[in-house]
Amino acid sequence: MLTRRLLQAIPVLLLATFSVFMLLKLLPGDVAITLAGENATVERIEEIRRLKGLDQPLIVQYGQWVMGAIQGDLSESLLSGEPVSTTLARVFPNTLFIVLYAVTLSVAVGVPLGILAASRAGGLGDKLVMVLTSVGVALPNFWIAMIFVVIFALNRAWFPATGFVSPFEDPLAALWYATLPAVALAASGMAEVGRQLRSSLVETLHSQHFRTLHAKGLPFRSILWKHGLRNVSVNLLTVISLLISRTLAATVVVEVVFAIPGMGNTIVNATLQRDFPVVQGAVLVMVLTVITVNLVTDILYSILDPRIAQQ
């Protein structure tokens, strides 16, 4: 399965990077003009285009990038000259840290909420959880982020309003800096995990199989933890897997709001400046991450439910 999935990833990677490359080239604007400076002559702009290989046909430019990428060379930023691999090695762990923090929060809060709602289906607790999770799903991340900054950073000064510390430098400070962005990112995740889990659990707990377990005299706690959660674990895993991919995408906005030097910020700035090697490299890493998450999810499916592996 692993080999098949890895082979399937190749056309996905090519299609994604080629689409992004062509879209960037279709965008108006010329990075050579930016590079040439404020009083640039037409000759200087042409000279820069030639020096940077921007005068080559598009397919040649893309081909050169692919050949380099296969050999581990993701080229250099057109603007700063920094190797793209260096940039990505610096910013990707930051994004990954925020995403994992946010997903952990989503699961840590969403799962108890889902269990609470499902075990009191139709009751006051269930209704309260449903209202809260509806709000969580409906509110956009960036709005929540800004409200959190006003309350917890500017008014209460509990957390920093902007910035980031790498977990490799200072893990405690890293958690402190990442808390507001992670909570902002996790708000919809918590709601989604809670709602999905509640829905799956209610359906499972109402099935004949569980009625039989109950009739056998098993206590509810045992039914819930030993049988119920195990039955819905595949659904929960799917939700978490999708959540990781979506949270990765959502960092684009939240990183800008909190000035976090991560993938999202890098992609936004590079796109605005038409720095296509950086955008290409970042997209490649993002696509690889999503593919990896999906692959791990598939493997976990087969562990949680051996019937899937047999199929």
């Binding site: 400076g37 700063s80 075990s119 009751g123 400070a173 402190w176 808390t179 109402h206 509810f220």
Partner: protein, 524 residues
């Protein structure tokens, strides 16, 4: 079913207690982590932290391409000539004095004992190396700035002589910009085609420590700086935060000391924040309309004049800049040493005269124009105010908005699309450069490539033949009157510098160039 529910409720308390306990534990952890800011901020460091609005394109003055680089470059490089912050009049920098013994020769006398961060001497040989590199190296983006320099000679260890192809008294102010920033030849390995893009070595107040792309640039105090008491802090950290609101939040929360180049509308907001102060002042940045005088009705100077005279610039500033700024009656702000009252009178609001001119030109029944602009909120607001004001003389149109690169390319480039483009002019240290770049027949910023008024080139040249500022002002005044009479651009409003600073910041002032310098800033 009801029985199941009842049992479920009965079974829950232990679980809920556990949840409550873990929740409380989580909250306690968060609260304890939340106690960190006070510890982290009370560190007593004398490090100036600044929010910058863009990542630098390069930290080598010869190879960079962005106007926003200067704020970074000033930290690590001094310029041969400096300027007065309030007027941009030239004053000594690395060159203690300069003179034009004859119109085609500029002599620079350098300060003694100035060294680069790497310890090498900033002497005449180093200056010659830099000027030659800037004007001839293939990697240089500023060759055009020094186009009038024919040769650079070392007269003695502290004297450099520039032989010019034509009189050019604009050179001293050109040497206050990128072209005058001196890079250590040793750091370049004495090879003009190499660069210090990512590791600048100059003579500036802070020597370079690190640059994390898109995140921050760090400098540490250069103890051997030639000016006493400069820099005012032991270090500087420039944090890159392109989003303006994020920058404001950073200064509000005390994470940075200064957030510069905020929009005028933010000034009202900053004034309401108790722990922040404002540093503000006029800049050379002018919102203006570029006119393609080779198209349709705009070939008629009466129509161009009518468009300008019908703009109530004070109302425009009030509506679009929350009254922070000033009306622009020409391509310079009032505070500039070369400002001309006579030129300004030519564009003063007079809607009756504008109507008369439209009538005379045959457009008394109205005129539809092809207008171009940018899609950001501020630009759209300026467009709406302008259209409302033009409606008084029957001028109509709809702005076709697209990103800066796209619409600028289409308007100024080969396609020549649009009658007018609402954009801005960011200014140049010497006004003769501004006028030459905006109005010369083959200039990129002259979209119709129309010939400037007769006598324009002569007046520009005269402004460059004398070093006397009063005489230059007279010559430049003539240039300004010519171009405002011909109305080849329509200036609208001067943008003001709006910087938010914390109460610790001392000795930080705005400058007319609109590119802040932090050399003298101290933290109280």
């Amino acid at each position: 079913m009801n029985e199941t529910k009842r049992k479920a409720i009965d079974a829950l308390p232990p679980l809920r207690r556990r949840q409550v306990l873990s929740g409380l534990a989580g909250l306690a952890t968060v609260a304890s982590i939340g106690g960190l800011p006070a510890m982290a901020q009370a560190n007593g460091e004398n490090i100036l932290r600044v929010r910058a609005n863009a990542n630098p394109s390069s930290l080598d003055p010869a190879t960079g391409g962005s106007g926003s680089d200067h704020t970074f470059l000033y930290n690590h490089y001094d310029t041969l000539i400096d300027w007065e912050p309030d007027t941009l009049a030239p004053k000594p920098g690395l060159a203690a004095e300069w003179s034009f013994p004859e119109p085609k020769t500029l002599v620079l006398k350098l300060r003694d004992g100035v060294t680069f961060h790497d310890g090498s001497a900033c002497d005449a040989e180093a200056v010659k190396f830099n000027l030659d590199r800037n004007r001839t190296a293939q990697i240089s983006n500023i060759k055009q700035d020094l186009a009038s320099v024919e040769t650079v000679e070392v007269t003695d260890p502290l004297t450099v002589t520039l032989r010019l192809s034509a009189p050019d008294t604009a050179l001293p102010l050109i040497l206050s910009d990128r072209a005058g920033m001196m890079v250590s030849p040793t750091a370049l390995g004495n090879d003009p085609e190499t660069n210090v893009d990512r590791e600048p070595v100059g003579t500036g107040p802070w020597s370079f420590v690190s640059w994390t792309d898109g995140e921050k640039v760090v400098g540490t105090k250069f103890d051997a700086h030639w000016r006493d008491g400069v820099p005012g802090t032991d270090g500087i950290e420039m944090f890159v935060m392109p989003e303006e609101s994020t920058g404001l939040r950073a200064v509000q929360s005390g994470q940075v000391h200064i957030a510069y180049q905020l929009s005028e509308r933010q000034k009202i907001l900053v004034e309401k924040i108790p722990n922040l102060g404002i540093v503000s002042g006029p800049t050379l940045y002018i919102h203006q309309l570029y006119v393609n005088a080779a198209r349709g009705a705009l070939q008629d100077v009466r129509v161009r004049r009518a468009l300008s005279l019908s703009v109530d610039r004070n109302a425009f500033v009030a509506a679009t800049q929350a009254n922070v700024g000033e009306a622009a009656y020409m391509n310079l702000p009032k505070a500039h040493w070369a400002y001309s009252e006579a030129a300004a009178e030519l564009t003063t609001y007079d809607v009756d005269e504008a109507k008369r001119l439209m009538e005379e030109a045959g457009y008394g029944d109205g005129l539809e124009l092809d207008l171009r602009g940018y899609p950001d909120q501020g630009s759209v607001q300026r467009q709406e105010v302008l259209l409302a004001q033009w409606s008084k003389i029957g001028v109509r149109g709809r702005f076709q908005n697209a990103p800066v690169a796209e619409n600028s390319g289409r308007f100024f480039g080969e396609e020549k699309q649009g009658d007018l483009l609402m954009s801005a002019w960011t200014g140049r240290p010497d006004p003769s450069l501004t006028y030459a770049l905006l109005y010369s027949e083959n200039s990129f910023y002259n979209p119709g490539r129309v010939a400037p008024p007769e006598g324009f080139a002569d007046a520009i040249q005269r402004s460059r033949e004398t070093a006397d500022q009063d005489a230059r002002k007279v010559a430049l005044g003539e240039v300004q009157q010519m171009v405002m009479q011909a109305q080849l651009t329509i200036p609208l409003a001067v943008r003001y510098e709006v910087d938010a600073v914390t109460s610790e910041v001392q000795d930080f002032n705005a400058n007319l160039l609109g590119k802040p310098k932090f050399n003298d800033v101290k933290l109280g």
